[in-house]
Symmetry: C2
Subunit: 312 residues, 2 copies
């Protein structure tokens, strides 16, 4: 009977808990976030659900790892804030859960956790130098170098969505800066660019019908204008990935998040673009592949994160 | 009497050798490259000058480090090629010099060596995570993470000049790709952009007089058009640096090479731009500073490189 780990994924619209044994997820729960309840409501729910899982566990649960949807001060093991739910400012979540569960706990942001998950259990297995992109509402990422998550000076490394791809752009990103990859290629930005292009073409009612990136991808098969938006998205993502490879000389780039689910043809278009920006692409790579764990990458990575408890 | 190290800097127009003791350069020679002589001529010269230094040395010379101006296969300790001098293809230079000098030798590309030099002896001292840019004819770089030079899968990491800053540019870089930082901000590119702007303004004779970036910087004090070229250069370099900080969460960025010598005001303009692209610039940095070792950063770094011999 193998020891278990408790993995927690705290996102803006839902939170999830799972018990993980070696390479198997043996139990899981998912709850919708009630934003008005704020952090304290969420923490109570997490403690309730976590205790239930611990009680029902068929083997000892040794530790708890948490992937959090927002900036985390990893060195001090505190949540900085949530972009979605109030009350998370400067919360020492691992301390709170250690007291509630009686096991050691560790937290990192969800993109770092997802990168760890893909690296050890998903599409990045076997790599040494990997970058993970999550392209959904926004664009986040995590960087694994020499087999270890790279966090940088303040634990804030990996923000692949906030490298400028247009150095004198006037397009303002969600972060307030201009020209970031996220300002062009996040789900929200793809939909915005599509609406802008449709309005410019005087197709106002079509513009009104575009609310998500999914609408744009669906229309791209029959609408040349939407096809161009998708092609540009692949080109820009490829520019970011190609440049990052020239910087970091990678084995593999893993793309997760909703936009990566558009289909294999989209990942291939991103790869073609990326290779056109690489100094010396060769048959050895880097490979550019879709996430293989999908929504579960954060949970797997959160479990893996507990290995870093031993180093503390 | 302290042990000495032999440091060699092999560039396109000159090569230099030095004896280095602890934090002191105790002897040095510099020779112009005769391109027509090719690699074999250069290697003979390096062996002659190196033997002379070894003979005259006042203490035992323990090892030799080499910074080479072109791609190096670090893992296999071979020169890939020179961009300037023929005959360097796949040369196992450390083997050749080990035989000639009777001491262990190690080679890396000159940008990596310069990064090591600045990190340990120059403007990067005290940092943990540093990126070095050398902005001269081209743009090269080196990345130090967690106190160690980061080389990536094939030893080709650090190409800060070849990240796209315009993702759908038609401007072709020296590398053959489009939109790279180097295609806008290298010395050659600054001069080209200035000539293009002058021609567009119908100032043809002024355009003919611009041959180097130095001409552009000199004219910027009195010519608004040249001032705009310089301002854009600072903006684009800042975009690259700001984006890199969001990726790698750095303590310090060191800028070397001829263009960095334009003056403190230029470094400050680059810093202002860089901060406008950072997610969360704060009083802790990253600092953006000019190289403090100037032309000697490669020699200092080459000496430091010998510490990696012990790991082999």
């Amino acid at each position: 009977m193998k020891d278990l780990l408790l993995a927690i994924d705290i996102g803006g619209t839902q939170f999830r808990l799972a018990l993980i044994s070696d390479r198997e997820m043996v139990a899981r729960v998912r709850r919708a976030t009630e934003r008005e309840g704020g952090a304290s409501w969420m923490i109570r729910q997490i403690i309730d659900e976590g205790r239930r899982l611990l009680t029902e566990a068929s083997a000892p649960v040794k530790a708890c790892g948490i992937g959090f949807g927002g900036p985390v001060d990893f060195h001090n093991q505190r949540i900085v804030r949530s972009h979605h739910v109030s009350g998370w400012e400067d919360v020492a979540l691992p301390d709170v859960l250690r007291e509630a569960f009686g096991i050691p706990c560790i937290v990192d942001n969800d993109a770092n956790a997802a990168a760890l998950g893909e690296f050890h259990y998903g599409a990045g297995q076997g790599a040494t130098h990997m970058v993970y992109y999550t392209v959904s509402t926004g664009i986040g990422g995590g960087i694994v170098l020499d087999g270890r998550l790279y966090r940088g000076k303040r634990g804030r490394a990996g923000e692949v969505g906030h490298t400028p791809i247009f150095a004198d752009s006037d397009v303002i990103c969600s972060c307030g800066n201009k020209g970031c990859l996220e300002a062009y290629c996040s789900g929200l930005s793809i939909a915005r660019r599509a609406r802008e292009a449709l309005k410019e073409a005087n197709r106002l009612s079509a513009a009104e019908n575009v609310t998500t990136a999914r609408d744009v991808f669906s229309a791209a098969g029959s609408d040349p204008l939407m096809k161009r938006i998708v092609d540009d998205t692949a080109k820009y993502l490829g520019a970011s990935i190609g440049g990052l490879h020239n910087l970091l000389d990678l084995d593999v780039v893993v793309i997760g998040g909703g936009v990566s689910q558009a289909g294999e043809w989209f990942i291939e278009a991103v790869e073609r673009s990326a290779r056109s920006f690489m100094l010396d692409p060769d048959e050895h790579g880097p490979q550019i592949v879709a996430s293989s764990l999908g929504d579960d990458s954060v949970l797997w990575g959160a479990a893996r994160l507990t290995q870093e408890l031993r180093r503390e």
